[in-house]
Structure formats: structure tokens, C-alpha cells
Amino acid sequence: MPAITENSYVPLISTIKTVKDLTPTEKIFEVELPDGKQLDHAPGQFVQLLIPGIGEAPISICSSPTDENFHLTIRRVGDVTTAIHNMREGDKVGIRGSFGNGFPVEEMKGNDVLIIAGGIGLAPLRSVIRYILANRDDYGEFTILHGARTPSDRLFKDELFSWSDSSEINLLETVDHPDDSWSGHSGVITTLFKGLTVDPKNTYALVCGPPVMYRFVILECLGKGIPDKRILLSLERHMKCGLGKCGHCQINGVYTCQDGPVFSFNQIKNLEEAL
């Protein structure tokens, strides 16, 4: 993906259009590029978000290219993410990107899609979910497995509610630690695989979540007969440039910012440092 300014290090000055609280530590921001510019991103790509004077952070684009403007869901963990949490509608930020490969939504057409999202991993996957919903007829069975730590950690509660209500999606949810408000399933995300029927011949599994989740989820997918080249994982690495130069994101010889962040299990099963 080409950078959208001539100098790859100069960000576009962009405007925060709306801010919404999702959980006590996560907010969703709608961001508008200047001069009617569009990101034209692929679902699964990311941007480098710059808060001038503080620094940059790689953040997944959690909206579909079919949405107006674009959305970032951000967990407050450190300097940059805290700074944007303190910003309001109308404030300006810098945006570079979009970067990375994204999910192969074209190649996936005509197939069933199984999404497996743990915690904030639901954010990057939301871009694909919204894309598929906008092009629903192009895809087969559509299943989402979603796991959160507690009921109040669930992101996009309104959307989860409407997805659970929709005949276009089969949404299965679980929480690790249920409370009185939760009448649904509890247990780790792999427990949702029990009783799940998938057609291994034409299913793509898309996985994003905390690093500990991957091994177990991959085993479940393989157990369902999904071939490793159709198990797609979005990986997180430290990133400083997005341009395949700074070296921080390297997994063996592979640059996550350019060759990823989405990899098939087939691509990474022999990369020693990937999982």
C-alpha cells in the first residue's frame, strides 16, 4: 500500500469527528481525513496515529472501507493511547497509512467465514465484519465467535446486540468471568467450538486476540479440518515506521508491517518467532 503523502513520515492532519466510550479503558473514535481524502483501506489494515509531542502508535482500522470516514478503537495503555483518550470532537491528530496487507476479502468471496475474536481483537475484525455485512450476498455462512474477559469488557455492545439478532450472522459469545448481568455462555473462547459445525472445504477462519489465544484456537480450527492456508491470523508487533525499515516488527525475515499483519497459519507455522 502506498503512503498517502509524498514523504512517508509526514502525516495527514485529521479531525476527530466523534468519540464514544466503549468500556472504562476503550473508546472508539471516528476520524476524518483532510480535503475529502479517503483511506481506501483493506479490512485488516492499520494506520499510524500521531499525537504530536507524544508519539505514534499503530492502530487497526476498525471500520469497513464501505463506511464514511474511518473508526479507531483504542485501549488506554500508555502515552499515546492515553493522550487520545483525553481528546475531544474537533481535535486534530496525525494519520499515516494505511499500512499492511489486510484480510483477503476478494479471495474469500463465495466461502463461509468464521471469525474468532478475543478481547480487543474484535476491533480489527470489526472492519471485516462490517465489510461482509455490506456485501453479504458475496459470502456463505457467517459465524462469529467472540470472547471477552468479563461482560463489561465487551466492545461494541450495541453492534453485538444487533448482530445477535440478525439472521445474517451466527454470533456465539462467551466471557471468562460472568457476573449477575450475564446469562450467556461462560468459559474460554475455545469452548465455543464444541458443537460448532463448519464446512472445512470452503471455510476461512479469521483470528485476532491476545497472543496466548492463538495456539489453542489454531488447534481447534485444524481439529475442524480447516486447512492451514485458510486460517488467517492478525499479529501484533512493536512498530515504528510501517515501511519495512525500522526493524521493530520483524519476525525472522518477515516484516509484519508490510508482509502482515495478516498471515495464514501456513505462512507462519515455520517462522520460529511468530507464535
Binding site: S8, Y9, V77, G94, E236, R237, H238, C241, K245
Partner: protein, 342 residues
């Protein structure tokens, strides 16, 4: 390419010409027991009898700290790219460092073009000189000592005379500033002899042909050499700081005291430092020195070789000489290929 010879005593005149004709001339100068590249304003401060400089000339193409983008915060947020590149000459560059510059050029100029690097590179004249190996040098194991491009002028010391290869028009202009004559067959033969006797001087050697090291690495991911070196490594990062083919970096924001403007600045960074791969939730993908040394070795002798068909080590010996624990890639390479393991 054209070859000329000139009297060694004219070298000073040539450097004086450079100082008069270019805003900045950098050359090796002694600093304590070592040599460094530094700006010279007097031809007699340059000294060429050195094995290696502490830092490679890369610092004039990709400085250790380099402003990339200026920004202002008042009323309107504004970003402005910072490109600052004056004409400069680096004189006395060893063959390995010329090769290293070519490797980094390819990364910075041919893919996701880096405008800051390109501006500096295009304003740089490179005058090479043949090498003087010492006990840490192993260029001969990883590259051809005879460099064919990547310079404007390349000088070979033949005693009283210097043979010079002229690769560019600018190089020709520089050589025209002093008395010179075309090099005859005799001098070309003398140069070959000089190169041959240089090859004999190397004491450190990698036993396998370097481009076959990827084969020697097969099945050695858990070889005990990584642990052995990892136990000795202090993760001080000296080795990556001095390496001419390392180009990893960090970018930080620096605010002016007024707090209404600042600069995004690029700094050298590297894979031997403990927090290089640390991410948000505390996960660190190379959290021990053994894994980090393994990564550095693979980056020099496999990963980049796979993609760019080039070994990303020039055998300059800087990382070896500087390492407080004496860790060096020759020992690792030889340990990997010495035994047919497991």
C-alpha cells in the same frame, strides 16, 4: 571506469582542493587509540593508516539523531518535512564501508523511498581507499576486496604512487585538481599484487563460503552456540551501534521549551537492546540475549540474503572489537559449520 596514477605527495593537495570546493569534508582522524571520521578543515589532519573507524561513515548519510518532521501546535496543527543536505565529501572510505553504503542505499532508495536519506546520499561524494586488515577484520571471507562501484574515486596505495579509479564525472573533476597521468599496465599489475598480499594478511576467517551459511543454519535454531553467546552478552547494544549495515531506528517526538512546536526525530536503535520488540501488554517477542544474538546473526547471514541476495556483513570487525564480551560472528559462523550436528 578510468585509472590514473599520481604521486602520493599530491594527496594533500587533493584534500586541500576538496576543502576549498565543498562545504564539508570528512576524513579519518586519530582519536586516542582509535580512529574516527570527522570534519576536517586542514588537509594534514586526515590520516589513512587505519584499520577501522569507531563509527562507519553511515553517520553522514543516516545520522544518529535526525530530524524528520517539524510540527507546530498553536491554533493550527502543521507538519513540515525537514530535509537538510549540504554537499559533502567523505574521503578515505574502506571497501567494506563502500559496500555497506551500497546495501543501505538499496534499502533506503529503492523501496519505500526515504527522502531524507536520498537527499543526503545524492549530495555525497565518496572517495575510497584500500584497506589495512588487522586481527578483527574478515572482509576477505564475506566480500570481494576489489570494489567496482559505489564511489566517485577509489585510491590504492602503491608506495610512492597512488592508483586511482575514477567512476564518475565529479570524480574526474576532483582528480583534475592535481597532476596525474594515465595508469599503465604495470600499475594495474601492482594493484593486483597489493590486493593479493592484503588477502594474506587476514587472520580471522569464516571457514564456509559465506553465501552458504544459510545452509549451515538449517536445523540450528536451537544450537547451543546461541545460549553460549547469550550468557556472555550484556545487551549493551554497542555492536549494532557501530555496524555499517545496521539501519534500524526509533522515532520520537521532541518538544521545544515553548511547548508549541516540536520535531519528530529518528534515532539509531537495534535488535540487541532488550525492549526492541516489547509491545503493549508486556509481551516481548525476543526476550533473551540468546534469541537476540540469533536474530542479529540471521539478519546478517540469512534473512537479508534470502531477499536481497547479499550478505549484510562486510567483515569490518567493528562489532567484535567493540563488544565488551568479545562476541563475534566469525566464531558463531565457524561453530555452526564445524560439526554435522544431531
Amino acid at each position: 571506469m578510468k585509472q590514473f596514477i599520481f604521486q602520493k605527495s599530491r594527496l594533500k593537495d587533493l584534500i586541500s582542493y576538496l576543502i576549498s570546493a565543498y562545504p564539508s569534508v570528512y576524513a579519518p582522524v586519530p582519536r586516542g587509540k582509535h580512529f574516527v571520521f570527522d570534519k576536517i578543515t586542514d588537509a594534514s589532519s586526515a590520516e589513512f593508516g587505519y584499520a577501522r573507524t569507531i563509527l562507519p561513515p553511515k553517520k553522514y548519510l543516516m545520522p544518529q539523531h535526525e530530524a524528520l518532521v517539524d510540527f507546530t501546535l498553536n491554533e493550527n496543527l502543521e507538519f513540515k518535512e525537514v530535509i537538510s543536505a549540504d554537499r559533502q565529501v567523505i574521503v578515505g572510505v574502506r571497501p567494506g564501508d563502500i559496500r555497506a553504503i551500497k546495501l543501505v542505499d538499496d534499502i533506503m532508495m529503492n523501496r519505500n523511498r526515504d527522502r531524507n536519506y536520498i537527499a543526503r546520499r545524492e549530495n555525497t561524494v565518496i572517495i575510497g581507499i584500500d584497506g589495512i586488515p588487522d586481527e578483527y577484520s574478515y572482509e576477505d571471507s564475506v566480500m570481494d576486496l576489489k570494489v567496482e562501484d559505489g564511489f566517485d574515486l577509489f585510491m590504492t596505495d602503491l608506495g610512492n604512487m597512488i592508483l586511482v579509479d575514477v567512476a564518475t564525472e565529479e570524480g574526474m573533476k576532483i582528480i583534475n585538481s592535481i597532476e596525474h597521468e594515465p595508469a599503465t599496465e604495470k600499475y594495474l599489475r601492482l594493484r593486483d599484487n597489493a590486493l593479493n598480499s592484503q588477502r594474506e594478511m587476514f587472520t580471522a576467517r569464516i571457514d564456509t563460503p559465506a553465501k552458504l551459511i544459510p545452509l549451515a543454519l538449517e536445523g540450528k535454531w536451537d544450537h547451543p552456540i546461541w545460549e553460549e553467546m547469550g550468557r556472555k552478552c550484556l545487551s549493551c547494544g554497542q555492536c549494532i551501534l557501530v555496524c555499517p549495515t545496521c539501519y534500524c531506528f526509533n522515532v520520537t517526538d521532541e518538544m521545544a521549551l515553548s511547548m508549541d512546536e516540536g520535531t519528530r526525530t529518528r534515532h539509531w536503535d537495534g535488535c540487541q537492546l532488550a525492549d526492541f520488540t516489547l509491545v503493549g501488554h508486556g509481551e516481548n517477542f525476543r526476550d533473551n540475549a540468546a534469541a537476540r544474538i540469533r536474530h542479529r546473526f540471521h539478519r546478517k547471514f540469512k534473512y537479508h540474503l534470502d531477499v536481497f541476495s547479499e550478505i549484510f556483513c562486510t567483515g569490518c570487525g567493528r562489532c567484535w572489537e567493540t563488544c565488551p564480551s568479545g562476541i563475534n560472528l566469525v566464531e558463531i559462523a565457524n561453530a555452526l559449520s564445524s560439526e554435522e550436528v544431531e
